[in-house]
């Protein structure tokens, strides 16, 4: 990217959750559901001495994208690392369930999920995990009728149970700043040792879990620049498509076969992972 292009583009990564949802939806169609003034804050954080946020870190916005009815679910990565608790998780799951219900009644509502999350909110434990399981089920239900588009822009990335949600989406869009992984770097370092995985080595971390690598290994479908217009255009293109007949998450036999070929006695390199997963034929 040249300096002129860098200065003229509007960063998507730097936008907050609400501004991201507004940027994706057609101008004037943004309508927030279960919003910050509706009293749906986490009942658990204050009891543990943690300051809550009015919308519990999740923005549910209904509107249209190029005229198609769409619900955008945007997670605010700056609030508690984008962690999902009882309320935020229920907002996402509930919205996806209502979108599927819309489709059963003849309204072709699509969904876009903007992932910026470390996964479950540890302070809400099983309630957060339960709500993430409901999100998974709701994505699998809705994607039969309409595309469910996941976007990981960065810089929090998408981890934990929500990385499974990202894997269940019809299409996944990533930027160079994005990261996708079941466990975050600090957790892997703690379990595997710093010699194997140094969580402070940022180029190393991105070389395995970054957006470019996830795209090259077929775990993401589109790789875009951190440009609000470019991301909106890609989402608009994907959302206008008919629902997929086959999803990546249904190809587990193929993935198991590929993993079976991996020699765990050797330290993997990013190139070796591309060889193992990259060829999708």
């Amino acid at each position: 990217m040249t300096r002129a292009a860098l200065l003229s583009r509007e960063s998507f990564v730097e936008l907050g959750a609400r501004a991201r949802a507004q940027a994706l939806l057609d101008p004037g169609t943004f309508r927030e559901l279960a919003g910050p003034f509706d009293g749906l804050t986490s009942p658990w954080l204050k009891r543990q001495g943690v300051v809550p946020q009015g919308d519990d870190g999740v923005v549910v916005a209904l509107g249209t994208i190029d005229g198609h009815p769409t619900v955008v679910l945007a997670i605010e990565g700056a609030f508690q690392g984008g962690s999902l608790g009882e309320v935020g998780g229920a907002k996402i799951a509930g919205a996806l369930e209502l979108a599927a219900e819309d489709n059963r009644r003849g309204v072709p509502t699509r969904a876009v999920i903007l992932f910026e999350t470390g996964g479950v909110r540890l302070q809400e434990a099983n309630l957060g995990l339960a709500s993430i399981a409901e999100v998974h089920a709701a994505i699998v239900d809705l994607r039969r009728y309409q595309p469910v588009i996941g976007v990981i822009a960065g810089q929090v990335g998408c981890f934990g149970g929500m990385s499974i949600a990202a894997g269940l989406c019809s299409e996944l869009v990533v930027t160079r700043e994005a990261r996708l992984g079941l466990n975050g770097p600090a957790v892997i370092e703690q379990e595997a040792g710093i010699a194997e995985y140094d969580s402070r080595d940022r180029p190393f971390i991105w070389s395995f879990t970054g957006g470019e690598q996830r795209f090259a290994t077929g775990l993401a479908d589109r790789f875009v620049n951190d440009d609000t217009t470019a991301i909106r255009d890609v989402v608009a293109e994907l959302i206008a498509r008919p629902p997929r007949s086959a999803h990546r998450s249904e190809r587990y036999t193929d993935y198991l076969r590929r993993l079976g070929r991996y020699d765990a006695s050797k330290q993997p390199t990013p190139d070796a992972v591309r060889d193992l997963l990259g060829d999708q034929t």
């Binding site: 609400r18 919003g35 910050p36 003034f37 204050k46 300051v51 946020q53 605010e76 700056a78 609030f79």
Partner: protein
């Protein structure tokens, strides 16, 4: 975490709701709703204990400087400095004056 409450004299109720900011590190969320006529109430929930006098001094200065509409304000603070608090309040008042409808 500490919860503080402040009240100030005010004019007629504010015309709309406004939300600015985020409960992120060094930042805060300011939620404004129309208040009861003649009174502005501010509920502060802050992650940093022991700064009641600083909040009192800053909010008293802001809300005594000029007559403002009556508001019910909720502040969720995550370690913002008084400078950031001042800028977020100014941003919220600007949004209120601009008539930009918030969620």
């Amino acid at each position: 975490m500490e919860q503080l409450r402040f009240e100030y004299a005010a004019g007629a109720p504010a015309s709309r709701r406004v939300l600015v900011g985020v409960v992120g590190s060094g930042d805060l969320e300011v939620m404004i709703e129309p208040g009861d006529p003649g009174k502005t109430s501010i509920d502060v929930t802050t992650s940093v204990n022991g700064y009641g006098r600083v909040w009192d001094a800053q909010l008293t200065r802001v809300f005594s400087a000029e007559p403002r509409a009556a508001m019910r304000i909720r502040i969720h603070d995550f370690g913002a400095t008084p400078g950031v608090v001042g800028m977020r309040l100014a941003e919220a008042f600007e949004a209120l004056d601009e008539g930009k409808e918030q969620p």
